[in-house]
Amino acid sequence: MTTTTTERAAAGAADYLDQRTGIGHAVKEFARKTFPDHWSFLLGEIALYSFVVLILSGFFLTMFFVPSMALVTHHGAPNTMDGVLMSEAFSSTLHTSFEVRGGLLMRQIHHWAALLFMAAIVTHMMRVFFTGAFRKPRELNWLVGTLLLILGLGAGFTGYSLPDDVLSGNGLRITDGVVKSIPIIGSYMSYFIFGGEFPGDDIIPRLFTLHILVVPGIILALVGVHLLMVVLHKHTQYPGGGRTDKNVVGFPLFPVYVAKAGGFFFVVFGVIALMGATMAINNVWNYGPFDPSPVSAGAQPDWYMLFLEGSLRLMPGQTEYVIGGFTLSLNILIPAVIIPGLLFTFLFVYPFIEAAVTKDKNEHHVLDRPRNVPVRTGLGVAFLTAFIILALAGSNDLIATHFSLSINSITWAFRILFFVGPWFAFWVTKRICLGLQRKDRELVLHGHETGRIVRFANGEYIEVHRPLDEQERWLRVNYTAHRPLEIEPATDSRGVRRKGYKNERRLARLSRFFYEDRVEPVTPAELAAAHAHGDHDELGSSESHGEITSGTQH
């Protein structure tokens, strides 16, 4: 094989770089990192790649968008907006859509990518939660992820408000209301944010700076931290034969994983481009330029904000009080500040709660099967139920028209469901998990039913059971069923009240809630016992023949 000039030049350049930066070592290290393979590990990548698409398309949009609230008369397409007085922001959005080549496509790609970005983040988070990937040593990365979720909401919200159409203005008006509902400082904050009375003419330029600089900048930095931590911690893996907390089974990053991941980027980009090209999104010219008076039917925020809309729609309006000349708007404060506050607090603290109630200080690199942690899985499903009910409540008018229902009854149903649904979902999920665990135990102890019925000489029928193979068994027995914390008595050996006993007792109670009901994995001893007892089940295996004749089986 002869080396060409280009190859020699490339090698020379690489060598030059390596001698000065030592980068060769880092690249080699990185390339040999191992990544396990599972489709659910690609959910985070969907989020990452949609973010890349957002940056690329967003960059294009900044070339044409004018972040100004100065009034102009729009001339040109579309004809429903010709000659209409509007802000420069709205006019430039129309210009981008109808005059700039590929402008509408870029806008639609940007918006679809934003919706997909959030959907991918949420599903990625669900994967991490239900498999327990947030456990030590990854708690901090869970926090970073939750921050990314909130920043994603921020990016979406600031972007949605930029075109200055009626819908985005409605969103800002609600924001203004929410800010004003904060006791004491609310009205000052509102003036501060809008630079005077709503809407003022500062908000669009301000949101623009946040949207294209501050928020994406922080997201980019945090994504960097997030990925760095993934590399440092190594990737988690699903339970299975040979996989332990001490190894990673998978493919080296280079070339297999890089090829797959690189290819996947184009798939993500392709799907977003396809949606942008064929499915209309946020056709702002239908809503018209912002004007505080009109609010159209079906005015809703993007889906990731829908839970807030729903929370506001469900809250009865009577809970506004005037106390000594000050207005306390609980009708806004509770649904728009307290409820989301609670939801996000749950996300932030959950890993630490679980660490506290298990007192588990070990590192975990093998994921949990959701059924093996029934209370966690139940809580996750309860959380999602609350979120989904709120999102549906935010769409109550569309549900009413599409299913010919009364919006009043829907609202009442959701009010009740919001309180009852999560409990019910928790209870059902926990039961299902425990049931599945019991089924696993059954399976490990007695093997698969084969459907083969055998009749013995003495007339007895049995069904032949085939024992599980190594892999199947490993999957089903290799987990820890945590037990509730045991605490020491309230007084020590000398009868003196122990300090911190109350806290411990509280923790123990919580721990009992988590681990009171549990199904222990089959131990080797149990397995051996089951085999000795029920060997006739394994008619297929040769050593069991002796047992069959005994005829003592049930």
Partner: protein
């Protein structure tokens, strides 16, 4: 032609044929059906026939002289426009089994409708059926129509007229298939929960602008499929179904390739 012949046995062929047939019938009907303007030329003969039709089909509720009764409005002075709207959209004669009288296939043909309208109009002055000129979208200004629609109609009917919910199961219907004449009449007469937009509120020219705007919506969106024109909720639904659906499918495929 060869290609056409080859497709003759395609399993969708009957559906396509059926659609073509429907289209043709609709076209012929549109050509032959008398324009609503002819309702104006009401003569005594029409009024007489209209009265008979009314007594046979409407009097049970509206009273023998259309004077109304418990919960049913009097029709004296509602005008030909109201009757034409209610009857041509199939709302009347009413079958009450929901929170509001809904559209159904019209029970009377155009001539009978005109006769009913003529009879009711003869009972007292009221808005007449608009002329073809008054409802001609090509003479309207869609930009002015959009502005009027935004401030007067969108809160009930949604920004593009896709429809919306009102309280207690009532709803403002989608305007995507309503005829120009019916749109005009709805504004003029304010059926059920809808307010009346008389000519002082919204001038006849402005009504035509609104029609022009609504007709424009039927041409679809420059951006692609309109997804029902329902806004962010349907967009959110589609991103989960199509976007995430396709990508999770791809992820499963990529994951499966390795093992």
């Amino acid at each position: 032609m060869k290609a056409l012949a080859a497709r003759r046995h395609h399993r969708l062929a009957p559906v396509v044929l059926l659609l073509l047939a429907l289209l043709a019938t609709g076209g012929v009907y549109a050509l032959l059906a008398p324009s609503p303007a002819s309702a104006d030329s009401a003569n005594v003969q029409d009024i007489e026939t209209g009265k008979k039709l009314f007594q046979a089909n409407c009097a049970t509720c509206h009273g023998i002289n259309a004077e109304g009764s418990d919960g049913v409005p009097s029709l004296v002075g509602v005008g030909a426009a109201a009757v034409d709207f209610q009857v041509s959209t199939g709302r009347m004669p009413m079958q009450m089994n929901g929170p509001q009288a809904i559209e159904k296939p019209a029970q009377f043909d155009a001539e009978q409708t005109a006769q009913l309208a003529a009879y009711v109009a003869s009972l007292g002055d009221g808005p007449a059926v608009p002329t073809a000129d008054q409802v001609d979208p090509s003479q309207g200004d869609p930009a002015s129509g959009a502005a009027i629609f935004r401030t007067n109609c969108a809160m009930c009917h949604n920004a593009v007229g896709a429809g919306g919910a009102l309280s207690e199961g009532k709803f403002a219907p989608s305007l995507m298939h309503t005829s120009a004449t019916n749109i005009y009449q709805a504004m003029l007469t304010g059926p059920q929960s809808m307010p009346v937009f008389n000519d002082a509120n919204v001038t006849p020219e402005e009504k035509r602008d609104v029609i022009a705007y609504l007709m424009e919506q039927r041409e679809g969106s420059a951006g692609g499929l309109t997804l029902g024109g329902l806004g962010p909720v349907s967009e959110g639904l589609w991103v989960w179904v199509v976007g995430l659906g396709l990508l999770v499918g791809a992820a499963v495929w990529i994951g499966a390739k390795s093992s």
